[in-house]
C-alpha cells in the first residue's frame, strides 16, 4: 500500500476475492447482490447460490457510481465473466433504489437476515448488524426469515461512523482500535454519552485529564457494547448469535458485547461486511428462478 501521504486513521481496507473452486461457466444461475451503505458498498456474485466473487469498497459521493465501482471490481479477475452474464441483480442498503444494474430493490433487514443465515448457518437466531450509520438487532428463523427486528438510527453511537470519528480523534488506525482497547489492566467506566458528538467531547476531556488512549478506547468500546446490548434485549437474544457489519471486525466491541450477553458470537467464515449483499444475491437467485418458470 503506497497510500501514506496524509494519515487517514479511519481508513479501513477495501478487499476483493474470487473463489478458486467455482467455474462460473458451468453455473445455471448467476446472481448478484449490491449493498450500498452510507460508509461501504459491497457487490457479491453467486453461482447457483454459492459465493463466487465479491468486492468491498468505500462508498463514494453518489450511490449509482459506488454501486457500479463495487460491481466492476467484483467482476475483475473472474475468468471473463461480465455484467451481461449476470441473470439477476438485487440492490439493497441505504442507496438501494440507486443501483443501476439491479432489477429490484429489497430492504436491508430482509437481506441481512438471509445473508447471515448463509454465512453463519441455519443455527443462527440472533443477528446484530453494526453498520456504517445504523445498527440493527434481528431475530431470524432457521431459514433466515425475519421474526423480529429493531433498527437504531437515532445517532451514530454504536456505528462504524462513530468508530471512524474516534480513531481520527485518537490518531489510531481503525484496524487497531479494537485490539488496543483490550490492552487495559482494568476495565474503565463506559463513557456516559451515547451520542457520538458528546462522546467525542467527553473523550477529549479524558485525554486532557491524562487518560492513556487505550483506556479511552476501552471506555468507548464498552459504551458501544452497552448501547447495542439494549437493542438486543428488546428483540430478545436466542442462541446462536452472530455479529455482522464492519464493527464485527473490532475485537474491542465484540468481546464486550459477548461479555454483556454471556454468549459467544459465532466465528465469521466470510468478510462480516458482506451479509447484506449475500442476502441480496440469494434473493436475486430466487427471483430469477421464479420468472424462468
Amino acid at each position: 500500500m503506497a497510500e501514506e501521504e496524509k494519515k487517514e486513521y479511519w481508513r479501513w481496507l477495501e478487499s476483493r476475492w474470487t473463489s478458486p473452486d467455482i467455474d462460473w461457466k458451468k453455473g445455471k444461475v448467476i446472481s448478484a447482490g449490491v449493498d450500498v451503505g452510507s460508509v461501504s458498498t459491497q457487490a457479491v456474485i453467486m453461482v447457483d447460490g454459492q459465493l463466487y466473487a465479491f468486492a468491498n469498497m468505500r462508498t463514494g459521493s453518489d450511490s449509482p457510481n459506488s454501486a457500479q465501482n463495487a460491481f466492476n471490481r467484483a467482476l475483475e479477475d473472474t475468468n471473463g465473466l461480465t455484467e451481461k452474464d449476470v441473470h439477476y441483480c438485487v440492490g439493497t442498503g441505504y442507496g438501494r433504489v440507486n443501483v443501476p444494474m439491479a432489477q429490484k430493490a429489497i430492504t436491508e433487514i430482509a437481506c441481512h437476515a438471509r445473508g447471515a443465515n448463509f454465512m453463519y448457518g441455519p443455527t443462527v437466531r440472533t443477528v446484530l448488524d453494526m453498520g456504517g450509520q445504523d445498527c440493527k438487532a434481528i431475530r431470524i428463523d432457521e431459514k433466515g426469515k425475519v421474526e423480529s427486528f429493531l433498527m437504531n438510527d437515532k445517532c451514530a453511537a454504536g456505528t462504524g461512523r462513530g468508530m471512524e470519528v474516534f480513531s481520527d480523534l485518537l490518531t489510531i488506525s481503525i484496524n487497531d482500535v479494537g485490539q488496543m482497547s483490550m490492552e487495559v489492566e482494568e476495565e474503565p467506566e463506559p463513557v456516559s454519552s451515547t451520542c457520538v458528538i458528546f462522546a467525542k467531547t467527553e473523550a477529549t476531556g479524558l485525554l486532557r485529564a491524562g487518560w492513556p488512549k487505550n483506556k479511552v478506547l476501552a471506555a468507548y468500546c464498552r459504551a458501544m457494547a452497552g448501547r447495542v446490548n439494549e437493542l438486543l434485549q428488546r428483540v430478545g437474544v436466542v442462541k446462536d448469535f452472530a455479529i455482522t457489519g464492519g464493527i464485527a471486525k473490532n475485537i474491542g466491541v465484540v468481546s464486550r458485547v459477548e461479555k454483556l450477553l454471556d454468549m459467544k458470537a459465532l466465528p465469521p467464515k466470510y468478510d462480516t461486511q458482506l451479509a447484506g449483499a449475500v442476502g441480496a444475491a440469494l434473493f436475486a437467485k430466487g427471483l430469477y428462478e421464479k420468472i424462468k418458470k
Binding site: T107, V146, M151, R234
Partner: protein, 108 residues
C-alpha cells in the same frame, strides 16, 4: 414478524411494535393517529409480499416519547412500568384501539 420502532433513553423504553403477520393493511391506524406516526410501506421481513403494511415513519421513530405524550396523560399518574392499569390505558390509545387485528402494541 414483529417490527420494533423506537428507542430507549435514560428515562425509559419508547417502542411501538407492529406485528406484520397480523396487519392487513387497512390503514385505520394511519387515520386514527393525530400525529401521523404511521405510514404504509413495504414489509421489511418479507420483500416478496405485495401488499403494504403499517410502519412508523422514519422521522417519528426518533422522538416517540414526545410525539405520543399528548395521547398518554396516564403517564402523569401511572409509572411507565407495564402494570395491568398501564396496559388498560395502552389499549385505549387511538392507534391501538383503531387496529381491529391487534397488530399494534406500545411498550410504555
Amino acid at each position: 414478524m414483529l417490527a420494533n420502532y423506537g428507542y430507549k433513553d435514560g428515562s425509559g423504553d419508547y417502542f411501538i411494535t407492529i406485528d406484520t403477520d397480523k396487519c392487513n393493511g387497512c390503514e385505520k391506524c394511519v387515520e386514527a393517529c393525530p400525529q401521523t406516526v404511521y405510514e404504509m410501506g413495504e414489509d421489511d421481513s418479507d420483500p416478496l409480499r405485495e401488499d403494504p403494511v403499517a410502519r412508523v415513519t422514519g422521522e417519528q421513530r426518533k422522538k416517540l416519547k414526545y410525539t405520543c405524550a399528548p395521547c398518554k396523560p396516564y403517564l402523569n399518574s401511572l409509572s411507565g412500568e407495564k402494570t395491568e392499569e398501564t396496559m388498560k390505558e395502552i389499549e385505549k390509545l387511538p392507534c391501538v384501539s383503531a387496529c381491529e387485528l391487534k397488530a399494534i402494541t406500545h411498550s410504555w
